[in-house]
């Protein structure tokens, strides 16, 4: 016999899950004797690791001093080393009286990024345009100098965080448009364009970055005509941007493949041409699909910039490495550990920032808001 409703049922609120921190703890960590035992063992293990780490990094650490003598064995971390080297870490070997030029760039860079991340910045579009076109020019003129009464500073004096950012930003900003074009090329209906794009991507993707860098620094000059002399840094930047674009291209291709054929057909049937169809219909959707992979690639590129070490450029990690081989600082393992820990934390701070921003972007796009038409 079937059950048939004999009266209208009342509409009830959904049952609530166990409330509060205590409820969560009880349910997840102490729900049974065995669970409780495991929780206690794990907490003890964490304590045994964290306690000495805190003693080493803070309580027993050495904060001041000018040489390795300040950090004898038996003490904790040697932050004195990082402090003594801090100027090189941030500015490289840039002339002391010219540091303001880098400071100005740091300020514009940070200000621009914050303005771009905040969705309600007035004139956000123009800020973005400036950061992509004006800023690189300003940065180039300020850093190199030799014009407007600015003293010329050769790239052999560049280093530290400044160099890391120059390489990373150039590689990332350069590889995104190049990668997009390659991805579109690889999906082109014209066979010649498709083959060239595919060959380019597969070639650069298959070579180790270290080999590319060695080629850029050692092999490349052999092939350029007499008298033409590219700066080593310029060659490195080109190599990085091109190498990274192959990976970007594959990220974008993944996004393009996720767009159903009907989207192309709808756009075409409205008379929208290829480039506008890509710019307004296909890419906004495709890029949204690949934000996590895109940021993943950016983080990878950022960390790979440390490889410039092998061709004699001293980026943030390179400066610390150089400092550790300074005779003043030859000493115990604490100095080494402190230097590399600091380098790791510095890189982590940047990449973690990127990761958080990507999460923010995803949320933002899930909520469905889109600026594509507002730029019309």
């Amino acid at each position: 016999m079937a059950f048939v409703a004999s009266r209208p049922e009342p509409t009830l609120p959904a049952p609530v899950a166990a409330a509060g921190v205590l409820g969560w703890l009880r349910q997840n960590l102490f729900s049974s004797p065995i669970n409780t035992l495991v929780t206690i063992i794990v907490l003890y293990a964490i304590y045994r690791i964290v306690d000495p780490l805190i003693s080493w990094a803070f309580i027993n650490a050495v904060w001041t001093g000018t040489s390795a003598d300040a950090c004898p064995d038996g003490h904790g971390a040697c932050w004195a080393f990082v402090r003594a080297r801090f100027r090189q870490i941030v500015y490289g070997d840039y002339p002391l009286d010219q540091l303001w030029r880098i400071n100005v760039l740091y300020a514009i860079f940070a200000g621009g990024l914050v303005a771009l991340m905040y969705p309600r910045t007035p004139g956000r579009k123009w800020v973005g345009l400036f950061m992509l076109t004006g800023f690189p020019v300003v940065a180039f003129l300020l850093l190199v100098g030799g014009v407007f009464g600015l003293r010329f500073v050769g790239t052999n004096n560049w280093g530290g965080l400044m160099l890391t950012l120059v390489v990373a930003v150039t590689a990332i900003v350069g590889s995104i448009p190049l990668g997009l074009i390659l991805a579109l090329g690889r999906r082109s209906e014209m066979k010649a364009i498709r083959s060239v794009s595919t060959a380019f991507i597969e070639l650069w993707r298959g070579v180790p970055l270290i080999a590319v860098l060695f080629m850029a620094s050692a092999l490349f000059p052999l092939f350029t005509p007499e008298g033409v002399n590219f700066d080593k840094l310029v060659r490195t930047l080109l190599a990085f941007a091109i190498f990274s674009s192959a990976f970007m291209a594959e990220v974008f291709r993944g996004g393009l493949q996720a767009i159903p054929r009907g989207q192309y057909e709808a756009a075409k049937s409205l008379g929208i041409g290829y480039w506008k169809m890509m710019g307004y219909v296909i890419l906004p959707q495709a890029i949204r699909h690949v934000i996590p992979a895109l940021v993943n690639t950016c983080i990878g590129i950022f960390k790979e910039t440390t490889l410039v070490l092998v061709i004699g450029l001293t980026d943030l990690l390179g400066v610390i490495q150089l400092g550790l081989s300074d005779t003043d600082w030859i000493g115990g393992g604490h100095i080494y550990a402190s230097g590399y820990l600091f380098a790791g934390l510095a890189f982590w701070a940047f990449t973690f920032g990127m990761s958080r921003y990507s999460i923010h972007l995803e949320r933002h796009s899930v909520s469905g808001k889109n600026q594509a038409l507002q730029t019309l």
Binding site: Q263, A266, K268, L270, G271, I272, R288, G368, A372
Partner: protein
């Protein structure tokens, strides 16, 4: 352009098309006059979609001529885009742009293709949203609408380009039964205003009341063509009779 009374909006002459070795359209001949409403029916896979997709060159034919509003379809990309902006098309699965609001979906093409100022394009868009009876959904995203509403938005999106011809490819097949009527009503309204329409559909009620001519396709050929009353009451061909029996029997 040919503006004479009864002049051909679409002329299809001796058209053949192959997908690889598969001969999908065989010797198609069809002339559609201005304001004519043609319903195309036939079994699945008979080439109905391919035929109407050739008219705005989503598919390219390999033999014969297709002339739309006086312009012959060739590889000339400029001409193709020009024809596409005058030929609206509505698809079975709507194909709205999911990252844009309903209003933005409607404004996009007039703005990009016709370079219409945004305010003017929005005014026209709101006007068409009113005609398909969903002006209150303008700021929603397509994913927030029902299938019937999405399909009406898709029709309005095409109309915003002021097309001279509208192509409909099984536009009610993906809809729940209770939404079919709201979409058909919009199409009947368009027909009443004199739009030139090619409609692939199995809605035989619609064919009976709206079409000037009904075309039956099978295996890539036009087998039968007649005005609706004769088509339904006295089909000439065995295959047409079988097909009609099948779709009318339930």
């Amino acid at each position: 352009m040919n503006e004479a009374q009864g002049a051909a909006m679409i002329e299809i002459r001796d058209v053949h098309k192959w997908f690889g070795d598969f001969h999908v359209l065989k010797n198609i001949n069809l002339t559609v006059a201005k304001g004519e409403r043609i319903v195309i029916c036939g079994p699945s896979g008979s080439g109905k979609s391919t035929l109407i997709r050739c008219i705005n060159r989503l598919e390219a034919h390999q033999q014969g001529n297709i002339i739309v509003d006086g312009i012959e379809l060739t590889d000339n990309l400029k001409q193709i885009d020009a024809i596409r902006s005058e030929v609206g098309m509505v698809f079975q699965d709507f194909n709205l742009f999911p990252h844009l609001t309903v209003l933005e979906n409607l404004v996009l093409a007039p703005h990009l293709v016709r370079r219409m100022p945004r305010a003017e394009a929005e005014e026209i868009a709101m006007n068409y949203l009113g005609r398909v009876r969903i002006p209150d959904q303008a700021n929603k995203y397509p994913g927030q609408l029902s299938g019937g509403q999405q399909q009406r938005v898709a029709i309005a999106r095409s109309l915003c380009m002021s097309p001279k011809i509208m192509l409909f490819d099984e536009v009610t097949s993906a809809l729940d039964p209770e939404m079919v009527k709201e979409v058909l009503d919009v199409m009947i309204g368009l027909a009443d205003e004199g739009m030139t329409m090619l409609v692939v559909t199995h809605e035989m009620g619609f064919a009976r009341t709206v079409a000037n001519r009904v075309i039956f396709m099978d295996l890539g050929q036009i087998i039968e063509e007649n005005e609706p009353r004769a088509f339904f009451e006295a089909p000439q061909h065995e295959r047409t009779r079988n097909f009609l029996e099948q779709i009318l029997s339930h």
